[in-house]
Amino acid sequence: MNRLGAGSIGGGGGGGGSAASAAGQYRVCGNCRKVPRQEKRVQVSPPLTRGPSAFIPENEVMQANGLDERTNLLVEEYSTSGRLDNITQVMSIHTQYLESFLRSQFYMLRMDGPLPLPYRHYIAIMAAARHQCSYLINMHVDEFLKTGGIAEWLNGLEYIPQRLKNLNEINKLLAHRPWLITKEHIQKLVKTGENNWSLPELVHAVVLLAHYHALASFVFGSGINPERDPDTSNGVRLIAVNNFCVCDLANDNNIENASLTSSNFGIADSLSELEALMERMKRLQEDKEDEEASQEEMDTRFEKEKKESLLVISGAFDDEIVSTDVSRYVEDPGFGYKDFARRGEDHLPTFRAQDYTWENHGFSLVNRLYSDIGHLLDEKFRMVYNLTYNTMATHEDVDTTTLRRALFNYVHCMYGIRYDDYDYGEVNQLLERSLKVYIKTVTCYPERTTKRMYDSYWRQFKHSEKVHVNLLLMEARMQAELLYALRAITRHLT
């Protein structure tokens, strides 16, 4: 029988997928049109902003290991979402991670879930606005309108329904001081009434908020450049973005930071720095058992680290830099990160990680109320925690476990989460001061990150490794926020 059958490769197929395949085809066409245009723009734009990141040279992003696999992943992302934003490009240095990142983001933004699509994007806008991340805001303003959101809401928080407005409080706390979230906050939101949230909706919202707070950290931490896509952002907004983002980065925000200026940057110096770090890591791994620190000693070490994180300050800032474009999505803009360990009247109890772990408790709750997201987040956390190429700068075959753990736990430490089985003395040995400054800035005040901070730590390390650091910081932060929020929800339930 000579017959021709028709099927489709890109999108769906068979009886059900004809609509999907048609859409896929359209995107591919759009793809072809878009690519050259984007390149043209690249040539026009100033040299500083070339490439997806202001911190990382373009060729660094482009050349990386596992090129084939990576291209494939990017092509796939392009054909499913119809865009390839700078975040994706920078993250694509770590292909394995990118895959689980995209999967979870896709799930929480586009798949079945308790919240309607425009809501999700608006919540993303609200979250990003807490850190004045105009990059993410612009991205989601477009998405918000595309999914049928009401344009009026974009005028600011006064124009949104009360129900969304109620989310402001938790958004604010989650972004800056998640330890303040209590079950009363949850109760207030879910209390039956006209504008109440159901628990699944709330969990979805919390996951989105945490995700976008953390993503804002990544955007600033990696100096993601604004998208130059003439189709999606109009001229007015583009200018606002440029004013805000790029100039800040270029001017370096004139911070005077003692730790940064005092250390003189010399290549020889940094080389020995690297060697020393490796030496310390090795020592930590080998003779773990030689000194038995008592429980009290461990406690004091955690307290010390906590206190010390207090001293790590990223320069004095006047908070007036908030552009009006962003501020309309922000309520109470003065509210910012305040050190957990601040000595003061009310001493907050430390969050003991073993009392409420992600694996046991967080996962179960989140998966119960918003099915499947637990698995995706679990995979993402696991992925970022275990990701290693066994290299450090120019050295190969290095076990970086202790370093990764130190980074992860240091972030949690700043949020007051303590691991009983971790010796916080390690943090001090492994993380140099300039790195601590960077970590603190990226996780707590991402909007203040500068290129100088990015450059000042680990000068021998590759950019891909610094991106890896950013990923770790981002996920650690997200997990910390989620733990606090979910713990409050659990307490509300019991």
Binding site: G7, G12, V28, E359, T490
Partner: protein, 705 residues
């Protein structure tokens, strides 16, 4: 065994043993700080007092001899965190360890280098395990995936023999002593109760302890051979000793009853036998509606437990074959045309289909719709007569059928009852109404009043009545010939039509019940006259078709109400925007979903897809865009392509090249099933316009249809 010996594990990785027999205030005995991370579990050997096993977050298990200062041996679980360790009660040297990644490993205490066997038990962390106290090979595991599984280790491959699904992640499992199939569980999140399950009956716990106010952290049976005392600790800072007879038994509160409705109208009903027999006086009531064609009583296989003595009965009520047949539904679904042609044609076609299946009322509805919505004025009477004539050709046959059918309908009271609510019986009704039309055809040749008649029909639901009523008098004249047939159908029609009921509410009932012919006759002329006068005025004013929307809407609602959601949805699709705004989204969605559900139960996949595609409801429309996956294999290495459609990960080849332009095809790919060459749809189309051979040059004569 030493009653004074106690071992604890701490989150900072320390294992401590305590000796309560110590005279000093500090009872601490030994301190092991070998683990680097949190120790999740410690376990004493069941017979060796000094042997202690620990499992930690760092992936190691260590065996301690309490007489020595350091561990005797270390077992590596390959980097995954250990969640639980348990010595086997029966096998001296064996212990089981469960892991965060869902694996369970069995170890021999003498061989620290390698595990004896490993299998994946759960999706996600396995929080706990417990060896069966009597049955040597049984191991119960509980995981974050909310399952409790019982494994049989006697075979070469661990086999899952029982599985209990709980409502929260399982933190602890403990076999109940002396009761082979009983197991106690508690959860670490959300759910505070302790359950005792019979693993053979996994859907309902056999006992439940509800005392705790916060999550239960640990459970243990008080004595190895006493199944009646359970101790539990909880985060609410209480310790309870539960006595088994205090437990609440959810089974007592459960309603062991089930009810199911089949596609063909059969009804199955299962209940406790005691319930059924005690209600025996109510049986006739049930039988009224449905003849219990077959009634079966059997013992539920799950009812062998010692404490449940009841048995249940299953009864199935079948509708009789004739009226229960859903053939008409399948045929209609297959033959209806829903799109792709002008409205008038669609309506005509569907009317014909309906008529072909003896569903004259539906056929009339289609005809009416056509008249309403496609050109109000141009409908010629000949056209109408034509369609009527067509219908009538089949009528003689129907007549004979009717004759047989109606008496049976007469005979049974339940039949009448049924016609109220169920579309299934419509067949019969339709049959009878067609005889009416047959008669009326004769009259219609008179000509002049035909348009008026049809406009009457615009008042859609009334249409059939009008036919009947208009010609009631002629029929009366022919009574000796046709009355036996006419009488009952008439009543059916009236009952069937809600709008008729509106008019005749009080009277319609009486003819229906009494079957009094005279009343019907006396009633009809009045009715028809008034309606005729209205319709005339309508006709002259040439009202826009919107005018009839409320009536059409009522018709659709009526059909849906009757259970004939097929007609409602088909009309909805055919009319599209004309009627869509009249009916609220939710109702539409409801209709669509029920129709699609019906179609799918009849395995009419293509039609259900068509309906989904044509529907204007957003919620329905996107049904097909969700979770459609197409798996493809690489044409070179024949293995599945995991990531993208066009590049194979394994052989690094582009799988789908266009035979015409030699580029990768992303999107629609068309290929010849004879030679399996293909390419971009457009390219192949163009190529085959000029050439009949395959563009790849394989010499195959491809055919594009």
């Amino acid at each position: 065994m030493d009653e004074n010996l106690l071992a604890t594990a701490a989150t900072n990785g320390v294992v401590v043993t305590w000796n309560l027999g110590k005279p000093s205030r500090n009872k601490q005995d030994q301190l092991f700080t070998e683990h680097k991370r949190t120790v999740n579990k410690v376990c004493f050997h069941p017979t060796e007092v000094y042997m202690l096993l620990s499992g930690s977050q760092d992936g190691y298990m260590k065996c301690f001899d309490l007489r020595k200062k350091d561990s005797v041996s270390t077992f590596s679980g390959q980097s995954e965190s250990v969640r639980d360790v348990q010595f086997s009660i029966r096998d001296y040297f064996t212990f089981a360890a469960t892991f965060e990644n869902g694996n369970v490993q069995l170890w021999d205490i003498r061989r620290p280098d390698r595990y004896e066997r490993m299998f994946t038990a759960h999706n996600g962390p396995v929080f706990c395990c417990d060896w069966h106290p009597e049955d040597r090979g049984w191991l119960a595991t509980g995981g974050r995936d909310k399952m409790v599984k019982v494994w049989d280790m006697n075979t070469t491959r661990a086999k899952e023999i029982y599985c209990v699904q709980t409502i929260a992640s399982v933190a602890r499992v403990k076999w109940r002593p002396e009761c082979k199939h009983h197991i106690a569980t508690c959860s670490m999140m959300v759910d505070h109760n302790i359950y005792v399950w019979d693993v053979r009956r996994p859907f309902i716990p056999s006992a439940m302890f509800e005392e705790h106010k916060d999550v239960t952290t640990g459970i243990v049976w008080r004595h190895l051979h006493d199944p009646y005392f359970l101790l539990s600790g909880s985060k609410d800072s209480t310790l309870y000793q539960h006595i088994f007879k205090d437990a609440s038994q959810p089974i007592d509160r459960a309603n062991p009853e089930g009810l199911c409705y089949s596609l063909y109208g059969d009804l199955a009903f299962a209940a406790k036998e005691s319930l059924i027999s005690s209600d025996s006086n109510r049986k006739p009531y049930i039988g009224d509606r449905r003849h219990p064609i077959f009634f079966k009583r059997k013992l539920d296989p799950t009812e062998q437990f010692e404490y449940i003595s009841s048995s249940s009965a299953l009864s199935v009520f079948e509708t009789d074959v004739e009226s229960g047949s859903m053939d008409w539904f399948v045929h209609t679904a297959k033959q209806y045309a829903l799109a792709g042609r002008p409205l008038a044609e669609l309506c005509d076609h569907n009317a014909k289909v309906a008529k072909g299946l003896d569903r004259n009322q539906v056929a009339q509805t289609w005809t009416m719709l056509r008249i309403i919505y496609s050109s109000l004025g141009t409908v010629s009477s000949t056209n109408l007569n034509h369609s009527m004539g067509k219908g009538s050709t089949t009528l003689p046959l129907m007549n004979s059928f009717n004759l047989k059918d109606i008496p049976s309908g007469l005979g049974s009271e339940s039949r009448l009852d049924r016609s109220k609510g169920e579309s299934r019986t419509e067949n019969i009704l339709m049959d009878s109404s067609s005889t009416l039309i047959n008669n009326e055809d004769n009259e219609e040749t008179e000509g002049s009043d035909v348009p008026a008649d049809y406009l009457l029909g615009d008042v859609e639901a009334d249409e059939d009545d009008l036919y009947m009523m208009d010609h009631e008098n002629p029929h009366a004249e022919e009574q000796e010939y046709s009355l036996p047939q006419e009488a009952f159908p008439l009543r059916h029609e009236i009952v069937d039509n809600p709008s008729a009921l509106d008019h005749l509410q009080d009277k319609a009932d009486s003819p229906h019940v009494s079957g009094n012919e005279a009343e019907t006759v006396s009633l009809t002329p009045v009715e028809s006259f008034s309606l005729i006068s209205i319709s005339h005025s309508l006709y002259e004013n040439r009202l826009p078709s919107d005018f009839f929307n409320p009536i059409v809407r009522d018709t659709l609602l009526f059909y849906a109400e009757q259970g004939d959601v097929q007609t409602a949805v088909s009309v909805l699709i055919v009319l599209g925007d004309r009627i869509r705004k009249e009916i609220d989204e939710q109702t539409q969605e409801h209709w669509y979903t029920s129709y699609i559900d019906l179609l799918q139960r009849f395995q009419l996949w293509n039609i259900s897809n068509e309906v989904i595609k044509l529907s204007t409801c957003r919620a329905i429309n996107c049904l097909n865009q969700a979770s459609t996956t197409l798996h493809i294999n690489c044409s070179n290495c024949k293995r599945p392509m995991s990531n993208r459609g066009w590049i194979c990960d394994r052989c690094r080849q582009c799988a789908s090249m266009c035979a015409v332009c030699h580029h990768v095809v992303k999107g629609l790919f068309v290929w010849c099933q004879g030679c399996s060459h293909g390419g971009h749809l457009q390219h192949i189309m163009k190529w085959l316009e000029t050439s009949s051979h395959c563009p790849a040059g394989c010499g195959h004569l491809c055919e594009y249809t």
